[in-house]
Symmetry: C2
Subunit: 373 residues, 2 copies
DNA sequence: TTTTATCATGCAAACGATTGTTTAAAATAA
DNA sequence: TTATTTTAAACAATCGTTTGCATGATAAAA
């Protein structure tokens, strides 16, 4: 009987469990059992199963056959305990429901699978204590490496030092600690910010606002630097009132743009380091009757799938998320392979692309077709 | 040195690894080491760490302190091997980047964490072989239970029988095998389909098309049944030409609606079992100049976050995904607790809600406010 | 004081695999 | 035929915990 009652719960049916056809084996078959049945030893069975050592073809096939017949499943815990290695890579992202991160994971999966590793996915929800707990748990379960995109709160790195302490290699992707002595796969955020801002200037917008994220994270710092550099190259002084630095959500985007539009000299365009806050601004402006892109230009960042669906479709910066994931996984596997050789640190930088859609295309030039789902 | 070169790769910097400040311990501290240092035995240390058995407060705190000082991290593999249980629940979903599934996972995380379990997330990408591999790997790593939403290709259930064979309990959520002898947490898809269709009829639409998914999955069957029931209650005969049964993607939605609009008696509304195919239809119709909702009504299914962002915002059916996740986790933990008692199977059904937005609201009545992100 | 119960800890055997070292048998060379 | 190499399989230790049972010390009951 389930006793909890939640919202929207319609009804609970509880049926007495009819005996399943499959006999429930209380005891799992082990290589010991296989060995006994074949009148041999566990070492022979183990070697036969893995093709290690010198095993006759006859024995090998006998073992394989019996393993299948007895539905043998290896006990990873025992194997790992003895061998000391797990062939499992931990993957930590702030949240799995962002297109950017789930695409990174897709890239990681592709590469790691090909190399015979399995992955463990976990999300920190941008909360430092979660991140620490996840890392602790991954150390305990002997992952052989970790791929991580750190959370917004991650200002100290004691939990990452733990990994070094235990000799577990790790590779940052996208969101990283600002030290090039770590293995990192990054995008050129400066360039992304620069391209986006330059594009708005090229489109004739004059007074460009900017939303960014926590400046603790290098990626947001760099996007902002790119924004500032583009302004400077066009000889435009930057206005601190037009910058909102902790603005990554839709709600915050709405509030920030409202404040800015009430300034004596309101902006006529926005480059946001987040598609979500750009969306908030877009929704607010539409609601206020401000015409986008005629009166106001918007460029977001990340190419979240909704950007192609909103109206008008949003110009944004694509980060080649799948490539990032692939590269991070490649770098990681490389490290694992060369673990005894000279230790080198790799910093891989991937170039972003500007996807020009409607929110910035005031002259209705044909650029790219909006991505479809 | 990283050798692969990919698209968009800008440059790779390889730095000789400067010696890290943290000494890399080749050997991890074990309870044996702690025991030796305290002149006691591993059993005492183990009991002190877990609070099991009878341990003096003095010894307990001495052990705890030293464990912290020596940066002790338990070896889960050894612990699990000995104890035979893992406190880890496997979670398998078709894809993690669907709002519906990631919300389910959020609900699962909340409940399992509270109960002291950790979870392993994996995605099948709707591919049966992946699903099988994931389950195999989870059996090997001794998960104590599995929460699963099956893939579209999952017509046979031999891999699930494997779980029964090994005595690993599992709970389906949302996408399930059509047998009530399994533990399942479902939404009332029939009701969802009925509500959606009835709403369109109430809004005065007459000729309602329907997109559905693979009829192998009960959820799509039931949504279709709800659609048919609503038509019948309104005395409207159903037209087979207005039903597209393998239509879950945006592309397919576009193609299907195009075909239907060219019929002698084209539809004036659509209830789609998927927000994605509904979106395809919406984009097509907008492009063709058909006015939504004035000339054509659309209702989707799942309340994916983009549905509130498209223009016009889309009416859809919300499945209370977080609740589904929570309930699945509760059911699972319940089973684990009662593992020795009478075995009962629970079928939990959660009621969906219709979220009325613009694509169906031809009279511009105020219903609900569109959800924001 | 003796007997019994309680408590804290030690002892030693698992758990199920892997793997370095031997041994036995078969194949080859002398 | 004998000596040597190669091949296949057995032996046994080990990985780091947990846990049932034994032990000794102290406290409570008789």
């Amino acid at each position: 009987m389930v006793s909890m009652v939640h919202n929207h719960l319609l009804f609970i049916k509880t049926i007495d469990n009819m005996p399943k056809n499959i006999p429930i084996n209380s005891k799992r078959v082990t290589i010991k059992d296989l060995a006994k049945e074949l009148n041999t030893t566990t070492s022979t069975v183990s070697r036969a199963l893995h093709g290690h050592g010198t095993i006759s073809e006859g024995m090998k096939s006998k073992v394989m056959e019996l393993a299948k017949k007895r539905n043998f499943s290896i006990n990873r815990y025992a194997a790992n305990l003895r061998s000391g290695s797990s062939k499992t890579i931990g993957v930590i992202v702030p949240r799995i429901n962002r297109d950017f991160f789930s695409n990174c994971i897709a890239g990681i999966e592709e590469v790691t699978k090909g190399a015979g590793y399995s992955i463990h996915i976990a999300q920190s929800h941008d909360i430092l204590s979660n991140e620490k707990e996840i890392i602790k748990s991954m150390i305990e379960s002997n992952v052989c490496a970790i791929l991580i995109s750190i959370g917004l709160q991650t200002t100290e790195k004691s939990h990452l030092d733990q990994l070094s302490y235990y000799g577990i290699p790790f590779v940052f992707f996208d969101r990283a600690i600002s030290e090039s002595s770590y293995n990192r796969v990054l995008i050129d955020d400066f360039k992304g910010g620069y391209l986006a801002t330059k594009h708005l200037l090229d489109m004739g917008y004059k007074n460009i606002a900017h939303f960014s994220g926590d400046q603790n994270l290098e990626i947001y710092q760099n996007r902002t630097k790119g924004y500032l550099a583009a302004l400077e190259h066009h000889g435009i002084p930057f206005n601190d009132e037009l910058i909102s630095k902790q603005c990554l959500t839709s709600d915050c985007g709405e509030m920030s743009i409202e404040r800015m539009m009430n300034l004596p000299n309101p902006p006529d365009a926005l480059f946001s380091s987040s598609d979500y806050s750009a969306l908030g601004a877009l929704l607010f402006l539409k609601n206020e009757g401000v015409k986008v892109p005629e009166e106001f230009g918007i460029v977001g960042f990340s190419n979240e799938s909704f950007t192609s669906l909103v109206s008008p479709p949003m110009t944004t910066v694509d980060q080649h998320s799948i490539e990032i994931g692939k590269n991070a996984a490649f770098a990681c596997i490389n490290i694992l392979k060369n673990t005894n050789k000279v230790n080198t640190t790799s910093n891989i930088v991937i170039e972003p692309s500007l996807i020009i859609r409607e929110t910035s295309n005031r002259f209705k030039t044909k650029h790219n077709r909006p991505n479809d789902i």
